[in-house]
């Protein structure tokens, strides 16, 4: 190359599709876990009414938006961040960072310690959102994968591991 060139670096379609599916699944699972799991219920109870939070990648997503309405019902609100007012934004600095997180090569605390995340909103609510994400990942993932995704695998009751997990999975898929 001997002359000047201007490059538009393009996109990563595979990563975008994979992350879109994963975020949809996790978003739906948060909605389901908020109805099944007491700990998740308690975390949402601590959040103000009509509170929404998002998880996504800078600058153009993909995103996952979850919110609590005035009747304390938790809902997955989709992936279009421009349609919703978001109180708390958890953003990874690039889509690759989000991809590394959702392919379980880096856990949330490791990604945070490597300065890959930025939070726009209240810190206590951000901590609560991360705790909710951790619980949901334990529900969704088999133990070896979940161990890579979170800091410490929790010691849960047998009911929580079996019945509650099954309920979360059914509710996630059916959306009930």
């Amino acid at each position: 190359m001997e002359t000047f060139i201007e490059i538009k670096p393009g996109r990563k379609p595979f990563q975008r599709i994979y992350l879109g599916i994963m975020l949809w699944f996790v978003g739906k699972a948060i909605q389901a876990a908020a109805r099944v799991d007491n700990e998740v219920k308690k975390e949402f109870k601590g959040m103000p009414a009509n509170y929404t939070f998002s998880l996504g990648a800078f600058p153009n997503g993909p995103y996952m938006i979850v919110g609590k309405d005035d009747k304390e019902k938790v809902r997955y609100l989709g992936s279009n961040i421009s349609k919703h007012h978001v109180d708390l934004e958890i953003t990874l600095k690039s889509m690759k960072n989000l991809f590394v997180l959702f392919t379980f090569r880096e856990s949330t605390p490791i990604a945070n310690s490597r300065d890959r995340m930025i939070v726009n909103g209240d810190l206590p609510q951000a901590c609560a959102a991360v705790r909710i994400l951790d619980i949901v990942q334990v529900y969704l993932l088999p133990k070896p994968l979940a161990k890579l995704a979170i800091k410490r695998y929790p010691r849960w009751s047998l009911k929580r591991h079996t019945v509650d997990r099954l309920m979360v999975l059914i509710r996630t898929i059916t959306g009930i």
């Binding site: 001997e2 201007e6 538009k8 670096p9 996109r11 600095k93 690039s94 690759k96 490597r114």
Partner: protein
Amino acid sequence: MNTGNFTFLCRTKTGFGMNALEHLPFDLSCMGSQKPLVLLDNNAQLKGCAKPLIRAFKESGMTLGLCPPIDGGTDPNIDLKTLKNFYGIYIDKGFDSIIALGTGKVADMAKALNIAVTLGPDTLKATGEKTQITQPLTPFIYIPTGMGTGMETDKIARLNGKTFNSPFLAPDLAIIDPEILIQDTSDTIINAGLTCLATCCEAHVLSDNPPARAYCATGIGLIIKNFLPLVQSILTPEVTPDKKTTKRYQTNLAQASVITGIILANCKGLLSIQLGRHLAKDSTATPGQAMTILLPAVLDLITANKSDLGNLILPLSGLDEFSSVPISQRPALAIQKIRSLLNKLYQICLGTIPRTLSDTGVDRESIDALVQSLSSDPPPPGTDIKTINLKQAKTILTHALDGQPLNQAYLN
């Protein structure tokens, strides 16, 4: 002299480690930039360093400009022509930040371009003290592809024999990502490594600047752990460690060179650096080799408080050796550690690296001429360089000639 007062300025944010490049679009966006122009050298171009950079910008929505690679030659006319060409590209295409991909000349060219595009090209024509850079320049990112000598993150830019000095010339961000690092030649690594070692050691002992000393200790620790193993792995292929370990050595040394630049920007008038640069013109040694050869004599002669010199053992050898050596023996041991490193390097390089001044082709008779040339070669205008005390310089050169300790009492 310790006055109890100091200032320390580090304008450069460092991003280090795996996937550190992925943060670059975000950081640029935070600086208000959407269209960076990339300057790179021939080596970086040939070894494909632009590919990981372009990959990091995917999905960012930004546009990158990739300049033709910069030639490594020293022809000032070509440098000016290249700079004019880059200036035209930057202005015509509407770029708003500069990325220097590579070490040495690329960083200088990027700094000069930054002055031209922010303050106008006429600023580069002004000479000496007239060149005042008193306002922030456009965002400037430095991405090393190997180990630099530290001038890349320093607040100095050199172009065409002129020196520009301003805190605004230091990069806003330095990113060290193992993915983009390439294997340099052993000569480049040795020169850069020894320059960094001499800078960090002298500033650690002689600077009364606590933050700078903390940086120095980190820099020395990184060099001691990674420099000799990397040189050995290049020169003796049969003991080459795995790729991951080599990458670790390279990234750590690149970090040491970034730290060295920050130290150079905060510690004025380091004697071994000034003398070493001067000596390299009149001998077979590279500037880095000359600096490290002179370093033991400089430390021995200049250090007023010998406990500062003794404390150098801590970053050089670690806590265990520091605590096991009596306080009175620490200064001598610190100096011996530096000499031992040079001797070990001599052994690894099969005798091609000088250990003393006489190994560089300087003899006792030529020392007076060297000292005289110091007085007739004043420091370039615009730099922080202090005038060298000629008597001190002669003592240092005499003792560096055969590596003889200044204070023989140490040996008793």
